[in-house]
Symmetry: C2
């Protein structure tokens, strides 16, 4: 049955133009063309094989990653790929590696915090990979609270050098990717001390290993921090530990764009505004949101295809059993995740725009939108990564027992994804930041300061406190303004309630700590509103292709009404809607699921993922699941021999009742 | 700092008698004594070491498991352990192995479905482990729907044998634990066919491998199905694939307690009632609920201790940073899980009683309580395992970045636990069964049939449809009857609403499919009510020990009010409580968290877990986290050499700009 498309009958059901949807998903025809070409390039090259990752020991796995990283770079050079193509290719290689940190953190940190001279010196080295860098911020004892880092960087005016030191065990750098075994350099964060005075945390370029023999330089202890969650997964990365014993670096390796230390040891602020640094954070978090849509869509693609292949119960009169995708419970778990993948795609797209907008304003010394942009990227990072982590595991459960096999691809997708909820800001800590921004916005309402961007709706707070939904029948919930009205009212009312309760505390900080759960909930409501409203905005655009826009409207409604149902308590307790209206939303949801059903396979085909990228037997494009699962099983090392290692020593004595005398 | 108790200051805060709580958790002083002794026996024996599991390749890992299983049995024999002690010891070895299926499924299946003669023949062999058995039900294409199994077992009257055959690829047995490499025998389920007639699925004892050389017998293809989720975890188990090519077994290896085939090939029912078989299911699911409380409590113990060790933010005037356990968001995520662990413990205890009760009745031919017992164990299995899976991952996130390290113990705990949501009944399929029972109960209300057991409250449905909560201030929610009233009203109203909507369908089966999401929600509400009410029942007992009962009351309130807040939409939309009352519950919750806080470490100490069992650096009893994390890191194979394998081939050419000519 090789070559047969077992899902053809499902593909024939699609009521929309899948190719047009591919363009919408990719962002443009150009983006689709590039990603299509790059993903096929990777998929067709056996050097990028990754289906054996789960079986490799740590060393073998890691060596293999080094090979792939080098080979990918070689191909990039040989094929003279553009930066866009190269970064696409790297992402389709789909294996965490030191290069992620080199390109994603080390280079941007230098770009963002280095002076012109520093850029001139370091960027070419980094760009050609004559040096390999990582980002060494977190310590064994200090993660979320960056201001609490213990590493000291003391200026020695005698030699015009900084002395970097790890004064305690907890000050050991811990977690930086690429640090453990590979990086020659790092941007290290530590407390700058001049003349006995502590100026807080600053960044420094530090060489870690010899460029001749790769051995750690004197005073440096460095290694890998050990195995992480899952098989394959993030174990391809050498997250590292690093200790400094009075290591000296030249003064000019402090990243001095914003502040610097003079030859005499004076600490001086430059006239470059500090806020510029936040631009990088907006950038990084925006990519995390896009990546969330990618990770979630992969899991959804696998679960959707397998749900169409899998049949269970309901056989009647010679007919086969029902496809599990036809069960309403399966739909109610799967389709909201499908809708979320699209929703996160569009909010990610919008964040890309926001980043450009912020940067343009920053160049023009307009910092006004920065706090709002900062809060909203923090919140969306938190919302999308938490939802994606949970969503991947739900997709695995949707595949029943077979989802538990590594060959389903889902265990590794989960294991490699979940730390996204923790790094670049713990998701709860981020929501608390959003909440602070919301409370500040509310407190300034009286002063006549008009809230902008994603908090603009707060400007209509009086109206939102009074508004009542006018939904009267299920279909009324298809109206974007009905949805938006309910989500705005809920978000506004939750925030206002928090602000009211906060005002009862004489010490606002104490109040904030005491009410932090309610604040987190308010922040979540605000972030869900952003996702809903950006999806709705997207649908105001002209979207070509038969049935494409209609289906996106269905997905948008599912995203919104699913969350309305899930958080019904919020909507009801704040009086935004009535029980009756809530129940109508639920009715509407059922009918929306039916509209998605025939289009489900088409909607996941539109992601345009290769079988290589998905790396899942359950998610195979051709649906040929069972023969391939069966074939795959025999590749396990345990099947190398019929009688397993250990049988003679341990099992035979058991069966032969000779355990008493056995040497075990 | 070896030997210092870094958590002593926390232990001193406890306001209750931790030793008395240990007895409550264990179930009795006797149970505590045995589990304490067995867990120390295992912990103190280096043969049972398990902290290196994440680093082992599949073969090594598996061989190690065989060794431990044999060694455990040897110790059991040497020490003449009782059955109770032996089973405790096995559970503290804490490594999935073929023995789990042998003792947990193979032996019970024979006991439950075998005739007296069959027991006499097979049980002694199994009990001495002269044969090793597994439970081969699931097929590649058939899991949840057992009636859809394809394996055929055809009686051949000529030779007085059954011929077992796998007619299709999808009929391959797939998943049975212990099958892949070890079992000599299996209870195999297949369609019984006599004289061309299909009698549906029955069980048969089948020998798979030679007792001489362990080779598969003629006609049998058998192997391991490959790697599963996570490191270590369930990969110590040889879940297997099995195909039959016309394999013959004697007629007397059909399990014939309930029905049998005569020498002439006649299919005959015995006078033993079929329902007896359900007893086994109640038994197995009851153990799963107890195991849920164990798994969740392990995760909670780790996260609680680490949350007391971990400090982040809030340093003032020379004082250290705040312990993260003092953050209200941390408490609001952690303490409901702590409460759930206790709640599941008590509902598990009650299920043990229920099982005995059901069995006693069955002996006396009283089948009246069986449907209810069956529904309630199905529902509680579903509820507790889903909550535990999610709870373990939440505990991992509560540990920030360090929770992602294998040495935290949490990744493996998650990976090994999650299939519990799928096996012994997919959790959604089970809730649908509960829903059927609820709908049936309601439909019979009119007929005067009085609902019993956990659905007894349905007998008061008219009153429950009318009732209004009389809570007026936050503390009123501490009243068990206030809580119970709200949960009963919510569960009853959700079920009644479903029944009403179902009655609108002319075809009830169609209605059931269409409304299955609402039905699942109703079932969930019912199951939460059971947990709440059994916790409340427990508190009616006499519970000695200073402060013990008081704290359990606090945990019970947390469990209930947390769920009330989480599912506020249910309570409000069905009109059981008002928004104001919902908000009072939330206020009360805050104050309950504060009451738990000083007792948190004591409450997890009461689980009495050894450091060996927890296998978590973050969860160490002495709180000595950082030095141990640091030590552990260096054990990773990647740290065997300073320069990693692959550096010369792949990284040096990169740094030296010689990739073009490199052979990769
Ligand atoms: C896979 C991975 C890769 C990484 N890569 C890098 C890297 O390349 N470079 C680098 O420098 N770092 C890296 N890190 C570290 C990462 O940035 C930190 O783990 C992250 O910032 C979270 O900090 P933490 O681990 O200290 O968590 P903690 O802050 O210790 O969190 C523990 C718990 O405390 C809670 N908490 C903390 N503060 C508060 C508060 N104020 N209020 C309420 N609750 C609070 C959190 O919500 C959480 O539940 C990586 C981490 C991982 C897991
Ligand atoms: C680790 C592990 C160990 C196991 N050990 C054994 C063993 O020792 N022996 C053995 O025989 N088996 C074993 N199994 C198999 C296990 O019993 C099955 O995987 C389980 O019964 C679930 O069935 P399934 O895999 O067919 O899931 P499926 O039924 O295929 O589930 C797929 C999806 O369909 C949905 N679905 C299915 N039916 C319906 C319906 N009627 N209505 C709505 N939704 C539906 C489910 O909710 C799920 O989302 C094991 C499995 C695992 C993962
Ligand atoms: Ca491994």
């Amino acid at each position: 049955m090789e070559g047969v498309d077992h899902l053809a009958f499902e593909r024939n059901k699609a009521q929309f133009d899948v190719d047009a949807m591919k363009i919408v998903w990719a962002g443009s025809s150009h983006a689709l063309e590039v990603s299509d070409r790059m993903s096929r390039l990777v998929a067709s090259d056996p050097a990028f094989r990754k289906d054996n990752r789960a079986m490799l020991g740590r060393k073998e796995l890691f060596k293999n990653t080094l090979r792939k990283a080098a080979y990918a770079l070689k191909r990039i050079i040989e094929l003279r790929l553009s930066e866009e193509e190269a970064s696409m290719l790297r992402s389709f290689v789909d294996e965490p590696a030191f290069t992620d940190l080199h390109w994603g953190m080390f280079v941007p940190a230098i770009k963002g915090q280095g002076t012109e001279e520093q850029l001139k010196k370091w960027l070419p080295l980094a760009q050609k990979m004559q040096i390999i860098g990582c980002y060494a911020q977190t310590e064994l004892g200090h993660g979320s609270n960056v201001q609490g880092l213990e590493t000291t960087v003391t200026f020695d005016p005698k030699t015009d050098e900084f002395v970097i030191h790890s004064p305690t065990l907890t000050s050991s750098k811990w977690w930086p990717g690429g640090l453990g075994k590979i990086s020659t350099h790092a941007v290290v964060y530590g407390r700058l001390i001049t003349d006995g005075q502590d100026h807080g945390v600053h960044g420094f370029i530090v060489q870690l290993r010899s460029l001749d023999d790769h051995l750690p330089l004197p005073g440096i202890t460095v290694g890998d921090i050990g195995m992480k969650f899952g098989n394959g997964a993030y174990n391809t990365m050498d997250n590292g530990v690093l200790r400094f014993d009075h290591v000296r670096i030249p003064r000019d390796q402090m990243l001095m764009r914003v502040s610097r230390v003079t030859r005499e040891g004076k600490y001086v602020q430059s006239n470059v505004p500090r806020q510029l640094v936040y631009g990088t954070m907006v950038y990084v978090r925006q990519t995390i949101v896009s990546d969330a849509s990618t990770a979630l869509s992969r899991a959804v693609c696998i679960a959707t295809r397998y749900s169409a292949v899998r049949r269970q119960f309901g056989a009647t009169g010679g007919n086969p059993e029902s496809q599990v995708i036809d069960y309403k419970t399966q739909q109610a778990r799967l389709f909201p995740l499908l809708a979320s993948a699209y929703a996160f795609r569009f909010v990610g797209e919008w964040l890309k725009w926001l980043y450009t907008d912020v940067m343009t304003r920053l160049q023009a010394n307009d910092f006004s939108t920065l706090p709002e942009a900062h809060a909203c990227t923090a919140g969306l990072k938190s919302l999308t990564t938490s939802a994606t982590s949970d969503g991947i595991e739900e997709c695995r459960k949707l595949c029943g027992g077979h989802g538990y096999l590594c060959s389903s691809g889902l265990p590794e997708l989960f294991a490699v994804y979940v730390p996204t909820c923790t790094y670049e800001g713990d998701n709860i800590v981020l929501l608390l930041q959003v909440a602070r921004h919301l409370m500040k916005t509310i407190s300034q309402l009286g002063s006549g300061k008009k809230p902008v961007g994603t908090v603009a709706y707060m400007g209509r707070v009086e109206q939102l406190m009074e508004s009542r939904s006018d939904v009267q029948k299920a279909e009324d919930w298809l109206n974007p303004s009905a949805v938006l009205g309910a989500f705005e009212a809920r978000a506004a009312r939750k925030s206002v309630a928090c602000a009211k309760n906060l005002s009862k505390f004489s010490n606002p900080e104490e109040g904030f700590l005491e009410l932090s759960n309610d604040l987190v909930e308010a922040a979540r409501a605000h972030c869900q509103l952003i996702v809903v409203s950006k999806f709705i905005d997207k649908l105001q655009q002209d979207i070509p292709g038969k049935g494409v826009k209609q289906l996106l409207e269905v997905l948008c409604s599912i995203y919104a009404l699913f969350h309305l149902h899930k958080h019904l308590g919020d909507f009801l307790s704040t009086g935004c809607i009535t029980s009756k209206q809530g129940s109508l939303a639920n009715d509407q949801l059922r009918s929306l699921y039916s509209q998605v059903r025939p289009n489900a396979i088409g909607l996941v085909d539109a992601f345009n993922y290769t079988d290589h990228y998905l790396s899942s037997i359950l998610g195979r494009y051709d649906g040929n699941v069972y023969p391939k699962l069966y074939e795959e099983a025999w590749k396990d090392p345990l099947n190398d021999s019929v009688i397993p290692d250990g049988f003679q020593e341990y099992i035979r004595p058991m069966l032969k009742q000779q355990l008493r005398n056995a040497r075990l």
